[in-house]
């Protein structure tokens, strides 16, 4: 005796959020049943193992049928096959596009290509995220990337509109797309301590300040430049070369140092280290700026930040407050330098650098 067929279809599609999560997490039906039983589901409504199995299979089938629609979420609202309340639709979409930080950390900045997809089983083994879930997440990244790639207008807005995601999730996807597009190196050992959220916030800063779209809607009347939020502003990167004067002009460098030191004196325990390292650190930051015209160096942006600035500071045992103090004065003192003409570029550059380093300066 065996169950040949077993279906349950509601006029309003019934979906259990717990089962949905298990499905998203790539559990097989059998494993999902096990998890549910361990979760005490049998105590509800005098259920038995068969009932839970049957329910899980039903739900899995429903999700599989929905998956096609979830690939283009606006369809979910217009399709006729499943009657799902708008609230439920939002949950379905949001959860489907949610991802594991551990997984995204592995593919962040990598090319979303077939090659990477082949490595997913390694990533799965490393992160203990199931392969099925890895695939879903990877395909989500790729799908969003492909859709917004060809679109004009602001990146986050586009993602939110075409995938009906929450603001937070749309921003995260923007970061992923941005990283994938610029191929930032995030996998080096020295960067391992950084979380996805660290990078996402940095990406947000870069998108908002360094891209073509960042200059503001005033300069682009129709606001419709392709990839405006994905590619860095080439003109700006050229202008960054001008900052080199801060380290090549000896007078300027000394003047800058003395201004910063005057301001910092007596305000921090790490003053001596700051004074001693000033020229080194300043060279590091300005050199990063000057090299950003090279795609290769753009990719190494984060590793450079860590190597040239964060690591020296950390070895001198700066606190986060020290860092804040130092960078604030380091940035502001430049305004007093009369001979330095590139204040706007400097602010645009240092604004992002400051926020990134604040975010990245932790253990």
């Amino acid at each position: 005796m065996s169950v040949e067929l077993d279906v349950f279809v509601g006029n309003t599609t019934i979906m259990d959020e717990e089962v949905y999560q298990l499905w998203l997490d790539g559990y097989t039906v059998i494993d999902a049943v096990k998890v549910r039983r361990e979760g005490g589901v049998l105590d509800e409504c005098e259920a038995n193992a068969d009932v839970v199995l049957s329910d899980t299979m039903d739900q899995y089938r429903t999700f599989q049928m929905c998956e096609r629609l979830l690939h283009s979420p606006p369809k979910l609202a217009n399709q006729l096959l499943f009657q799902i309340t708008p609230h439920r639709q939002t949950i379905l979409i949001e959860r489907y596009y949610a991802f594991d930080d551990a997984f995204v950390r592995e593919v962040l900045g990598k090319k979303l290509s077939k090659g990477t997809k082949k490595d997913l089983d390694d990533i799965s083994a490393k992160t203990t995220v199931t392969l099925k879930s890895c695939r879903r997440q990877f395909d989500n990244f790729k799908r969003v990337f492909k859709v917004v790639e060809e679109l004009k207008g602001p990146l986050v807005e586009n993602i939110r509109h075409h995938f009906l995601l929450s603001d937070k999730l749309a921003k995260d996807y923007a970061a992923i797309v941005f990283f994938a597009n610029n191929r930032f190196e995030t996998g080096k050992r020295k960067l391992q301590y950084l979380t996805f959220q660290d990078f996402a916030i940095c990406a947000g800063q870069l998108i908002n300040n360094w891209t073509v779209g960042a200059v503001g809607p005033d300069s682009f009347v129709d606001n419709m430049v392709e990839d405006m939020d994905v590619d860095l502003d080439k003109e700006f990167l050229q202008e960054l070369k001008e900052l080199k004067i801060l380290i090549t002009d000896k007078d300027l460098l000394d003047q800058h140092k003395s201004l910063v030191c005057t301001a910092l004196r007596g305000k921090t325990k790490a003053f001596n280290e700051m004074e001693a390292n000033f020229k080194n650190l300043s060279r590091g930051l300005v050199n990063i700026a000057a090299k950003l015209t090279n795609t290769k160096d753009v990719r190494d942006f984060f590793i450079d930040l860590v190597e040239k600035f964060i690591e020296p500071c950390r070895s001198d045992r700066w606190t986060a407050a020290d860092m804040k103090l130092y960078l604030t004065h380091y940035t502001n003192s430049v305004h007093i330098l009369d001979t330095f003409k590139h204040q706007v570029v400097w602010d645009r550059y240092m604004g992002v650098i400051k926020s990134c380093i604040f975010k990245m300066y932790h253990d």
């Binding site: 077993d6 409504c45 839970v52 006729l80 009657q83």
Partner: protein, 1115 residues
């Protein structure tokens, strides 16, 4: 030229990619009606084409309008090869033919392909302009309203119930035609879908014609079924109840929508009915002591006929077994069984019986006109307006086993055109017809009803089960006596509640009173005086196929009771097979009945409603499933417990065993009593004044049965003598009432008892029933979830015993229920209503169970106030009408004699219910009001009471509103056009609720838009890829739901009521990776609004009116 059909193709969306190279589609649309076809332009390279076509106009006969669907085909244009079909949409335009229903069809329809399922959507506009047709001999029946609902639709009032309608049409099944061997599966499926669409259109038209002939304007309780007889053809049959309905909402009683035919007739009948009233009035009221026979209730003239003495009261015709085998050899006419024996030509027999029936009723009886008019006083309704149903006799049931023969169809020589053939028109010397088969069965049902002293059968339904060439035809219903007022035409001036004055027994218990003569009982039954009114006799148990009358007094709550049974049978062919089956049937019916009775007792209940016994035939087994809702009727005696008796007393180990079983049974009974809150009111508590007229002991035990009872209760004896068709409460009324003895004499009995105890009760927070609503729950909130579930079990073990099979089958049903509870646990507290189980044996080793039901939430806190709530009938939506209506009457009709009296027996009694204990005798209340003075005084009282009632009602509404989740507001013409203009972003999909019930809790139906009757075939040759057979069926059912919802939304509706899935036939061949499934669904499309939205209600009704008035102008 009676009609012009106009269609416009607006746009498509989500189309499939048909051109791999470009990932796009060059779509165009063919619009076909009858033999005329139009095409749109090709909209190149788009998955969201905007055709925005002109209006395609079809000039057609209204006969065609009724029969034909509008057929829309979406194709992909291909320059070099044949155009590829993407899919089709069939639109039934019947709803547009009735001015009261929808005026336009507009919306997104899923594009359906029988191989690929839904492939995108298409936006279509359809309108119909009807011209007046003065031809009296017309073939069409446009304008007759159809309802699947098996009660008087909400917002309508039944002026007259005309009676039974039946029709069937027969054709060859395209699947079995020679051409099927060379055409594609898709072509074959489409031919079949189209044919069935045509056949059901024709069937509906013919039924409509019959309605017009009878003078009605509507069909209520319309039930259409398909018999896929394979090689021998395809039968589409329908039954229904013809009515003259009037709209209530307009306020005026005489509405414009009565059919012209009824007007003269009604005038003619008006006067006798009025004459009839006064003598009855004078005569009935003084009746004080001595229980009047049920027939006093009938509004007969001064000399009431003898209490309905059936000609052969005691001849139970047990020999006339339904299971009579009638074989249909290729030649000659083998009329089946008893009918054949009694008389050759069936028609003559019928005529004779009708005449005798009339004679019996006496010439003076002015009512019962329906009998003169029609052969079968059957009603497909399951619930009735108050006071319609006077007495209920019990379930009547008939089955017949037939051998299918190829339907000879001379008109069908050419298989290309599906010329429809009406079986009735075939000449008489054709071989036996399906029509005659059914007539035979109905005849039998009728005679059973007669034996029960009843003149009508209500809650009537018919079904078939086919396996290869054997077919079991079944019919069942509830024998009843109806209030003849409703049968008579021309009682337009009588409100729906003013019949009670003729009825000495209160409606809370009146229907339980026996309709048959207690001295000439047709069967051994145990009668007692009614526990409610103490004036008339009631049986100890009552089985019915109808819903519990809203006004019935019930103690505690009800529950689903099922009897399940499997019987193995040898594989055989032809006559041998049929004989084997018909030999098994009586045993199965008996077993099922015993199970039902035991389970009923175990739950301490005494009545079954909504009883449905289904017997399905397979190659090597028969499946029996009886479902019903058990209740404790306050009027009936308390059921005794179950006593276990061993066959061999003295054996100590056996005794011990018995004791433990007995203990378990007693525990289960006690637990059930508590669970279902069955605490029968103590009769001592009654107001003694009420009983001043009846001089009786009021103790429970004191009211013994005065009838000497035959105490035979041998099971063996019964199963032999019993004709299985007469399954009814009579069967098991043996034994003394407080000791229902189960004898354990063999393993079978042990098994029985075991299965009795294994039935699990629903978990906490759940109730279940198969009737419309749960007796004892009155405070529904708006949360609903309709679902369909199908399960198929494969029996791999070939050498199974009957018991083994029984266990498997029982577990299957129990597990299904458990699954429902589990899946719907988020809705607690909730009740599964209208649980409709359908069993089938699709293949040799397979058992299929399909269930459609609705889960409805209710407010737990209010359950305590059930007495106060009692007056608010289940739906609530029509309550307003029913309450307001009598009040209006009361206010302006004080000069009419009959009106005040109606108020007295009507409203005061109901107020009593709410203010006093449950079991007060209201019947005698009327007795005391014997003078006009009192009547008038009470009338004033009534009005006051009425207002009190209304206020309480609004209060309860406020309750339910507060617990409402969101409910979809109604869409109307305007919002619809808004919707269609929006395209991307934002949902364009209307929420459509579906329910198998006739109402949606918390809402009121403001408009019926027409009947939904759809038939789909789905086939796949890639079963594995679609997720196996479960995946295949899952998506198909979801697709069917989607298509129903889309059609309803396009009609402007937001809900489907009385939804049902008549057929779900699945055939699979996993080895070939193939499967095919046929599904037939039906229901009523409606617009409903939240009950609280009074403003929008007012506005929408006016919109509805202006709409219909404009269409009136155009037509």
């Amino acid at each position: 030229m009676p009609g012009k059909l106009k269609a416009k193709i607006v746009a498509g969306r989500h189309l499939p990619v048909m051109d791999r190279a470009s990932d796009l589609t060059d779509a165009f649309v063919e619009v076909k009606f009858g033999n005329t076809t139009f095409k749109t332009d090709v909209y190149p390279k788009s998955l969201n084409p905007q055709w925005n076509s002109e209006w395609f106009k079809f000039e057609v006969d209204d006969e065609d309008l009724q029969d034909e669907p509008l057929q829309i085909t979406v194709l992909d244009h291909d320059t070099y090869s044949a155009n590829d079909a993407i899919g089709k949409v069939y639109i039934d335009i019947d709803p547009l033919l009735c001015t009261e229903a929808a005026s336009i069809i507009s919306g997104w329809f899923p594009i359906y392909d029988t191989i690929h399922g839904i492939r995108g959507e298409i936006n279509v506009l359809v309108k119909v302009e009807l011209f007046n047709d003065l031809n009296r001999f017309r073939q069409s029946s446009c304008g007759v309203k159809f309802f699947c609902t098996t009660s008087i639709p909400r917002g309508y009032r039944a002026a007259t119930v005309h009676g039974f309608l039946e029709e069937l049409v027969v054709n060859e099944d395209p699947e079995y035609q020679w051409i099927d061997r060379i055409r594609t599966p898709r072509a074959s499926n489409e031919a079949r879908q189209r044919l069935i669409s045509l056949m059901s259109g024709e069937l509906q038209r013919k039924i409509g014609l019959k309605v017009l002939e009878m003078g009605g304007n509507a069909v209520v309780g319309y039930l259409q079924c398909f018999d896929l007889e394979g090689e021998s053809g395809l039968v589409v049959r329908a039954i229904g109840t013809a009515c003259s309905l009037e709209k209530l909402s307009s306020g005026s009683i005489l509405n414009t929508h009565t059919h012209p035919n009824t007007a003269p007739a009604s005038n003619a009948c008006n006067s006798p009915s009025k004459d009839g009233k006064e003598p009855v009035f004078g005569e009935d009221l003084p009746s004080s002591s001595g229980p009047p026979t049920p027939f006093r209730a009938l509004p007969t003239s001064s000399s009431p006929p003898p209490p309905f003495s059936p000609s052969k009261p005691c001849s139970r015709q047990s020999s006339s077994s339904d299971t009579d085998l009638s074989l249909t050899p290729k030649t000659g006419m083998g009329s089946g069984g008893s009918a054949g024996k009694e008389a050759g030509p069936l028609k003559t027999l019928l005529r004779q019986q009708t005449q005798t029936a009339l004679e019996q009723r006496g010439a003076s009886s002015s009512g019962l006109l329906f009998n003169a008019r029609q052969e079968f006083p059957f009603f497909t309704l399951t619930s009735f307006p108050p006071a319609f149903l006077l007495h209920v006799g019990g379930v009547v049931n008939a089955r017949s086993v037939k051998l299918l023969d190829r339907i000879h169809n001379p008109a069908l020589g050419n298989t290309r055109s599906y010329k429809l053939l009406d079986w009735n028109s075939v000449t008489a010397d054709e071989p036996e017809t399906r029509d005659a088969w059914w007539e035979e069965i109905r005849q039998e049902i009728k005679s059973h009803a007669k034996a029960l002293g009843c003149h009508a059968v209500v809650g009537y339904s018919e079904s078939t089960s086919i396996c290869e060439e054997v077919c079991i035809l079944s019919a069942s219903g509830t024998a009843a006596i109806l209030n003849p007022r409703y049968m008579r035409e021309g009682c337009l001036d009588i409100g729906s509640t003013d019949h009670r004055f003729e009825e000495p027994s209160p409606p809370t218990c009146g229907f339980c009173h026996i309709p048959y003569d207690e001295l000439n009982m047709p069967f051994p039954a145990q009668l007692t005086y009614c526990y409610h009114c103490r004036r008339q006799k009631v049986p100890d148990v009552l089985f019915t196929t109808i819903d519990l009358p809203a006004e019935a007094a019930v103690t505690g709550k009800g529950c689903l009771i099922q009897a399940r049974l499997c019987r193995l049978k040898k594989k055989a062919q032809g006559e041998v097979n049929a004989t084997a089956i018909s030999n098994l049937l009586p045993f199965m019916e008996y077993e099922l009945h015993t199970q039902l009775m035991n389970k009923l007792k175990l739950r301490s209940m005494n009545a079954l409603f909504g009883l449905r016994i289904q017997i399905s035939v397979g190659e090597n087994m028969l499946l029996g499933l009886a479902s019903a809702t058990g209740v404790y009727l306050t009027a009936l005696p308390a059921p005794g417990g179950i006593q276990i008796a061993g066959k061999t007393p003295g054996d100590p180990s056996n005794e011990q065993h018995l004791l433990t079983i007995q203990k378990r049974i007693n525990e289960a009974t006690a637990k059930n009593k508590e669970l279902y809150q069955i605490n029968p009111p103590k009769l001592f508590a009654l107001d003694p004044e009420v009983f001043c007229g009846t001089n009786m002991e009021l103790t429970e035990e004191g009211v013994g049965s005065p009838i000497p009872e035959p105490r035979q209760r041998s099971r063996l004896f019964r199963s032999h003598s019993e004709s299985s068709d007469e399954i009814s409460e009579l069967d098991l009324s043996h034994g003394k009432k407080d000791a229902f003895v189960l004898e354990i004499d063999d393993t079978d009995a042990v098994e029985d008892i075991h299965s009795l105890l294994t039935d699990a009760n629903p978990p906490r927070g759940f109730y279940s029933c198969n009737t419309e609503t749960m007796p004892g729950i009155y405070n529904w909130t708006s949360g609903i979830q309709m679902f369909t579930s199908v399960r198929i079990l494969r029996l791999n073990n070939t050498n199974l015993t009957n018991q083994g099979l029984n266990k498997i089958f029982t577990d299957l049903c129990e597990n299904l229920l458990k699954s429902f509870y589990f899946k719907l646990r988020s809705m607690i507290p909730c009740c599964l209503c209208h649980l409709n189980f359908t069993v089938a044996v699709p293949e040799e080793e397979l058992i299929q169970v399909a269930v459609t039901a609705v889960a409805m939430t209710f407010d737990k806190d209010q359950t305590q106030e059930k007495l106060a709530e009692k007056l608010i009938p289940k739906g609530g939506s029509d309550t307003d009408e029913q309450l307001q209506f009598p009040m209006e009457l009361c206010a302006d009709s004080s000069t009419i004699n009959s009106q005040p009296s109606s108020k007295i027996s009507g409203v005061p009694e109901s107020t009593n219910i709410s203010s006093r204990a449950a079991s007060v005798d209201y019947g005698s209340f009327a007795d005391r009001c014997s003078t006009w003075l009192e009547l008038l005084r009470l009338k004033a009282h009534t009005i006051r009471r009425g207002s009190v009632k209304t206020s309480r009602r609004t209060q309860s509404l406020a309750h339910s509103v507060s617990s409402l989740e969101h409910s979809s507001p109604l869409p109307d013409g305007r919002s619809r056009s808004l919707r269609s203009s929006r395209s991307f972003g934002g949902s364009t999909v209307t929420v459509v609720k579906m329910t198998p019930l006739s109402f949606l809790p918390g809402t009121r139906i403001i408009k019926y838009l027409g009947i939904i009757n759809m038939f789909f075939i789905r086939e796949t040759t890639s079963l594995r890829e679609e997720g196996g057979v479960s995946g295949f069926l899952h998506s198909f059912i979801a697709e069917v739901f989607a298509m129903v919802r889309a059609h309803v939304a396009a009609l402007g509706g937001n809900a489907v009521v009385s939804y049902s899935m008549q057929d779900c036939v699945l055939m699979e061949n996993p080895n070939k990776n193939q499967a095919q499934c046929l599904i037939n669904v039906s229901g009523d499309a409606v617009i409903c609004v939240r009950e609280s939205d009074q403003d929008s209600l007012a506005s929408t009704t006016t919109i509805g009116h202006s709409c219909s008035s404009t269409t009136d102008v155009t037509t």
